[in-house]
């Protein structure tokens, strides 16, 4: 394999692994914010216990997000130095703002959030939780802006060195055409991912003990989230798709598997085997006119096909076509779970409908798969460009020999599977323990000095065993 292919595999591998953690911690930080707020408002011990239960899990997941994210901030320079030199003047400041406004905020308050329960007052501790949650959202905003600019670049000029430099207002660059859609879709995706994990864990424990108050509360909260947010996500995804059709038509045509132009309305291809080599779908199962109805909201609206574009500017349609279907299929399953939970709630069977709980357990990891499939769709769909329409991926990589990139790729694969494999195992292990009254704080939480007296209804916290 050549250096550019290896560099792409490396970036895809490290960024996919990385995004698993923020997809979870963005939602979990907000969930912790809600739990602590509810505890402060109601004084109910169940919220404090759930807060502590999920805080320990958050600590492990967040740590893995930090170190895998650190890798990303250097991947641009190590493997994509030409891209960095040329796009640095535009994407660099946005990423620098991410560090300044988000990473420091998260890191600065994380210590107090994790270990400071007995060091600062309740109000200050809640403030620390809020700042960590806010930090995750600010971080998502900046990095999605960067990614969106690479998808829909505006507000730039080229200087004498061939660099993309800002021309005019930074607001145009930050709020580039695909940014609002991608941001909403990504953040909701993170919330749904977390809701499914929390719901899955709650359901797991309800299957063993349907009286566990922590399991009941977390399951109920998670199912509300799924029921309310899954339909919003589907609408947001639809709007995002229309935006993509406007700015990156070839990507949408690859997602839909439309090689042939459809002057009288495009069908919706349900399944099939796209072939870029042959320039057609094989074994297509399609519904006439539905494609145009979805994309143009008019069954007879004409749509172009990939054949309208030069072949060397096509994204690899087989990957995009299938990753898109995985994401949509899982999204519909999430909607189904949400609706089912509403029916169970109406019938008063939310906590004892065992098939619902089994389904929620099965859907626990679905968010991660959907989120990764979505990113594969949008990133592979941007090919063959790094900056859409302007800079080819094949012209973006570092002047490195293939063996150097291959060796580092192998090292990343080994280290990630070892470190994050162990981390995943620990997370599952923690989630397998039921939430209990008197849930412990993270290990090594300072216990001596303090001003925090446990609120009414919270069991005194025992010393961690370790």
């Amino acid at each position: 394999m050549d250096a550019v292919t290896l560099a792409r595999i490396q970036f895809g591998f490290t960024v996919s692994f990385h995004f698993i953690f923020p997809a979870f911690s963005i939602g979990l930080a907000s969930y912790l914010f809600v739990l602590e707020a509810l505890w402060l408002r109601t004084g109910k011990g169940v919220y404090a216990n759930l807060y502590r239960y999920w805080l320990k899990i958050f600590a492990v997941a967040f740590g893995m997000g930090v170190v895998s994210g650190l890798v990303m901030s250097y991947q641009f320079g190590t493997n994509w130095s030409v891209f960095s030199t040329r796009a640095g003047p535009i994407i660099g400041p946005l990423m620098a703002y991410e560090v300044l406004t988000a990473f420091f905020l998260e890191a600065g308050f994380l210590g107090v959030m994790l270990f400071g329960m007995r060091k600062v007052g309740k109000g200050l501790h809640f403030f620390a939780t809020s700042m960590v949650a806010l930090g995750t959202l600010i971080s998502a905003t900046w990095i999605i802006s960067v990614n969106s600019w690479m998808q829909t670049p505006v507000g730039y000029a080229l200087n004498a060195k061939g660099q993309f430099v800002p021309a005019g207002s930074w607001a145009r660059i930050i709020f580039n055409p695909s940014f609002p859609f991608r941001l909403v879709h990504t953040v909701i995706g993170a919330y749904l991912t977390t809701a499914l994990v929390v719901g899955g864990v709650g359901a797991w424990h309800l299957l063993k003990d349907r009286a566990n108050p922590g399991a009941r509360t977390m399951f109920s909260m998670a199912m509300w989230m799924a029921a309310l947010v899954a339909p919003i996500q589907i609408l947001a995804g639809d709007a995002h798709g229309l935006n993509t059709l406007e700015h990156q038509p070839a990507k949408v045509l690859a997602m839909e598997g439309d090689y042939q132009p459809s002057p009288h309305g495009a069908p919706l291809v349900l399944f099939g085997l796209p072939s870029n080599a042959e320039g057609r779908m094989r074994f297509a199962v399609e519904i006439p006119k539905l494609g145009s109805l979805i994309l143009k909201h008019d069954p007879n609206a004409p749509l172009p096909g990939l054949l309208d574009f030069p072949k060397d500017r096509w994204p690899p349609a087989p990957i995009v076509f299938w990753s898109f279907r995985i994401m949509v299929g899982l999204g519909l399953a999430m909607l189904g779970l949400g609706v089912w939970s509403l029916i169970a709630r109406m019938r008063g069977r939310l906590y004892d409908w065992r098939w619902l709980h089994r389904a929620a357990v099965a859907m626990g990891p679905a968010g991660f798969i959907a989120v990764l499939a979505g990113w594969v769709t949008t990133e592979v769909g941007r090919q063959p460009y790094t900056i859409y329409g302007l800079m080819l991926t094949a012209q973006s990589h570092s002047p490195l020999a293939a063996p150097a990139v291959a060796a580092s790729l192998i090292a990343f694969v080994l280290v990630y599977f070892l470190a994050f494999g162990a981390g995943g195992y620990y997370l599952l292990h923690m989630m397998a323990k039921p939430p209990e009254p008197g849930e412990t704080e993270p290990p090594r939480t300072p216990q001596r000095a303090g001003g925090l007296v446990p609120a009414h209804g919270v069991d005194p916290v025992p010393q961690p065993a370790e």
Partner: protein, 335 residues
């Protein structure tokens, strides 16, 4: 208004500040990782871990700031330096992955705690060593042609870069030992004090060796340090370093708690100023100046607005977080 502020110089100082903040803060927690095997299993290791657990993440964020800031303000330098030191950067990142996850994992898995403690130590050593070797590689110069790195992928390897690598490992270990002196009492503190004496001697020796070797790398360095009348100023750096070293040993023998760490930091500051004298205004020595690498003024100005407002805020709440966890970690590993 005749005032003309050169944004590029301002940004060079901001990046230098971020790098020094990184070295000062992550230096001591990497140093504790480097020294970890010498701590007794049980209370002493738990104390060492607790002394850094609430702050390590913030410390490491300065590395992201250094990298992100470099990409934003000096994209060409970011591209050239990271390509030139490619295997080192990959090794550093993987080392940081291992040590970063060990913070949480060691509490989660008592059966494999020894394994994660080893990962914490080896990861810290690899990260420190890679940073030190990369510094040496930069000082000895990298091959640049047509605005891109033009050397091979092992050009960084030389006796000099290995020397700077070792120097950084020893120096970080000194920061770690003196941090433990500050944050603990009893057995752990006494042990760290003994370590700090040896490491202090090692750091001074390493500084002297690197300083002696640098002027021979290129005539430019020689001229910067020894030409009249500049030598009257540059000579102050080794002089102050020697005084700082003296105070370090005196404070360690006298049983002071905080002074050893502050003196160790001052040693790093002196080394950092020395590097500034050797490098400025080059960002890649003798190949790329800060002006060659600079992003356009619109980019630098846009970021400067944020940096001027936000960096003081960051320093304020980071300071607050340190203040919350002030005081000694007791023998049960609690603050």
């Amino acid at each position: 208004m005749g005032m003309h502020i050169d944004l590029t110089v301002v940004w060079a100082f901001i990046i230098a500040f971020a790098v020094f903040a990184y070295v000062a803060m992550d230096g001591f927690d990497l140093g504790i990782g480097i020294l970890f095997p010498s701590f007794k299993v049980g209370a002493e290791r738990d104390q060492a871990m607790t002394a850094i657990a609430p702050v390590w993440d913030g410390n490491e964020t300065w590395l992201v700031m250094g990298g992100g800031g470099l990409l934003a303000a000096f994209p060409l330098a970011y591209a050239v330096v990271l390509t030139a030191t490619y295997p080192l950067m990959i090794a550093m990142l993987l080392g940081l992955v291992f040590r970063g996850v060990a913070f949480e994992f060691r509490w989660r898995d008592a059966r494999h705690r020894a394994l994660w403690d080893t990962a914490f130590c080896i990861g810290s050593i690899i990260a420190a060593l890679s940073q030190g070797i990369a510094l040496g590689a930069l000082l000895q110069g990298v091959k640049v042609a047509n605005g891109a790195y033009a050397g091979g992928w092992l050009d960084w390897l030389s006796p000099f870069s290995l020397l700077t690598g070792a120097a950084v490992v020893v120096g970080y270990a000194l920061l770690g030992a003196t941090w433990i002196v500050w944050k603990t009492e009893g057995f752990a503190q006494a042990h760290a004090r003994r370590l700090a004496l040896w490491l202090g001697a090692g750091t001074l020796l390493a500084l002297a060796a690197v300083s002696a070797a640098t002027p021979f790398l290129a005539f430019d360095y020689w001229r910067r340090w020894f030409a009249m009348p500049g030598v009257l100023l540059t000579a102050q750096v080794p002089l102050l370093t020697a005084i700082t070293g003296g105070v370090l040993f005196w404070s360690l023998r006298r049983g002071a708690d905080r002074a050893p760490f502050l003196m160790a930091l001052t040693l790093f500051l002196m080394a950092f100023i020395g590097l500034g004298i050797s490098l400025f205004p080059y960002i890649v020595p003798r190949a790329i100046t800060i002006w060659d690498a600079a992003a356009p003024p619109q980019s630098q100005a846009f970021m400067l607005v944020g940096a001027v407002i936000i960096i003081p805020l960051i320093l304020a709440y980071t300071g607050w977080a340190y203040w919350v966890f002030r005081g000694k970690v007791d023998e049960h590993g609690h603050h």
